[in-house]
């Protein structure tokens, strides 16, 4: 392994000062970075270890859930707040790697990796999450949708640090579901991953708000807005969900690679979107509970 300097700042300001030095790279959980280091894909002069920063928390205040960027997926799975209010995120955390990966990998790291298959991205997209970014000029809040700018490319400027993920507590009559298709049950990169959220009106039929997001079927994790518009404002039904699922499959841009062909990804996306929406619908009407 090539050599590098190593620092362990204890405040975000210190971390940003270090990250502004040339050749510095942030070290979160390390489950991607250490592999890339060994393979020579990256060669930073300095690693800035973020583990001593106070960025490991799940808090809820004023209807906003705040998750520190260094919170591990094991901690997300253990969080009562996430399991109750953002069940779709907990479902995705359970699908990431295996126990060892989840004890190391962090939510902030997964988002910053900006890989198209990042499992935590579709759930956070359907919850309209925002990311808080700190830099030498202060902090800014960016909608997660704008954070992914290309394959493995995020919206961070040099020297910036993602410090917090925020999502609003969903309204009543909301259901959500994350589904992942992989080649095996553990340690698997998604062939397709899908999240859907439905919020119904007081009549328990009209779709007040809907979000559908997919991963591994486009250069970035992305929403399926045409599919959302099929449902938005209409009375939810099986046939409408069917149409929305077809619309989602039409608007994605999957590629063929060693894990699956584009055709298989498109058809799998249709099926997963349909299943996720159906489950979200049942959950929104109270027929099923989170994590059923």
């Amino acid at each position: 392994m090539p050599s590098f300097e190593y620092s362990t700042p204890t405040t975000v300001d210190q971390a940003i000062a270090l990250l502004n030095q040339s050749g510095a790279s942030a070290l979160a959980g390390g489950t991607d970075l250490l592999i890339h280091l060994r393979a020579g894909i990256v060669a930073p002069k300095q690693l800035v270890d973020l583990s001593a920063l106070d960025l490991n928390y799940v808090r809820k205040d004023d209807g906003i859930i705040r998750i520190g960027a260094m919170t591990t997926f094991a901690e997300i799975l253990d969080s009562d707040v996430v399991r109750r209010d953002l069940p779709c995120l907990a479902e995705s955390a359970a699908e990431i790697g295996a126990v060892q990966t989840r004890n190391m990998a962090t939510l902030g790291g997964n988002l910053c990796s900006a890989v198209p298959s990042a499992d935590s991205a579709p759930p956070l997209l359907v919850y309209d999450a925002r990311v808080k970014i700190a830099g030498s000029d202060g902090e800014r809040l960016v909608p997660l949708e704008q954070f992914f700018v290309g394959p493995k490319k995020n919206a961070l400027k040099p020297g910036e640090l993602l410090i917090e993920i925020q999502a609003s507590v969903p309204l009543p009559r909301t259901g959500a579901r994350f589904l992942k298709l992989g080649r095996r049950k553990a340690m698997s990169l998604a062939v397709v991953n899908v999240a859907a959220r439905l919020t119904l009106g007081q009549d328990h039929r009209r779709v007040e708000n809907v979000r559908i997001a997919l991963g591994a079927v486009a250069p970035t994790p992305r929403r399926a807005k045409r599919a959302e518009s099929v449902l938005q404002g209409s009375d939810v039904s099986e046939s409408l969900i069917d149409r929305a699922a077809r619309a989602a499959a039409d608007e994605i841009a999957p590629i063929s690679d060693l894990r699956a062909t584009a055709t298989f990804r498109r058809e799998s996306s249709r099926v997963l979107v349909k299943r996720a929406l159906t489950h979200a619908w049942q959950m929104a009407t109270g027929e099923t509970k989170p994590n059923d």
Partner: protein, 162 residues
């Protein structure tokens, strides 16, 4: 690159050693401290042979700079039992023939220990999930799952020396 002096706590014992920033925990444990029970398999966090417990939780020591393990409690397979007093999991692995070549066994045992520490009556699904980050190319897993079940039973009946 400048070496740094750090203290690592392994199996309840403190060691003061010199490490470089790029030294991985698995290499330091094996090559500097002699805990060669920790195996290095894929080196990319896929196979789980290098699993150790860090503050009680299974992690891949091949993906962790040794500097990051400062001020943490590390348990390796050498800390699980002794030849005279095997851990109930080790006893159960022997009795159920859950070890063939043995390369995965240290990581497998530590993942199983973390499971039983948190959940004394795991279901078969929970056992399979707990060891899903540990690859075994010999056994087909059936005997391993059987052994973890037997160990759980032995430990809850107070049979054995946890």
């Amino acid at each position: 690159m400048i070496e740094r002096q750090i203290e690592l706590r392994v199996n309840g014992q403190s060691f003061t050693i010199l490490v470089k920033p790029q030294d991985l925990l698995v290499d330091v444990l094996r090559d500097q401290l002699g805990f060669t029970g920790t195996k290095k398999g894929c080196g990319t966090g896929e196979c789980g042979a290098c699993t150790i417990l860090l503050d009680g939780k299974p992690v891949n020591s091949c993906l962790m700079p040794a500097l990051r393990a400062r001020n943490k409690d590390i348990i390796t397979i050498e800390g699980l039992g002794t030849p005279e007093h095997l851990h109930p999991l080790q006893q159960a692995f022997i009795e159920n023939a859950a070890v063939q070549c043995g390369f995965c066994a240290p990581g497998m045992l530590l993942s199983a220990k973390a499971l039983l520490d948190a959940n004394s009556h795991p279901t078969e699904t929970e056992i399979r999930q707990a060891i899903s980050g540990n690859l075994c190319r010999c056994t087909g897993y059936a005997k391993i799952v059987q052994a973890v079940k037997a160990a759980a039973q032995a430990m809850t009946q107070g049979d054995g020396n946890p």
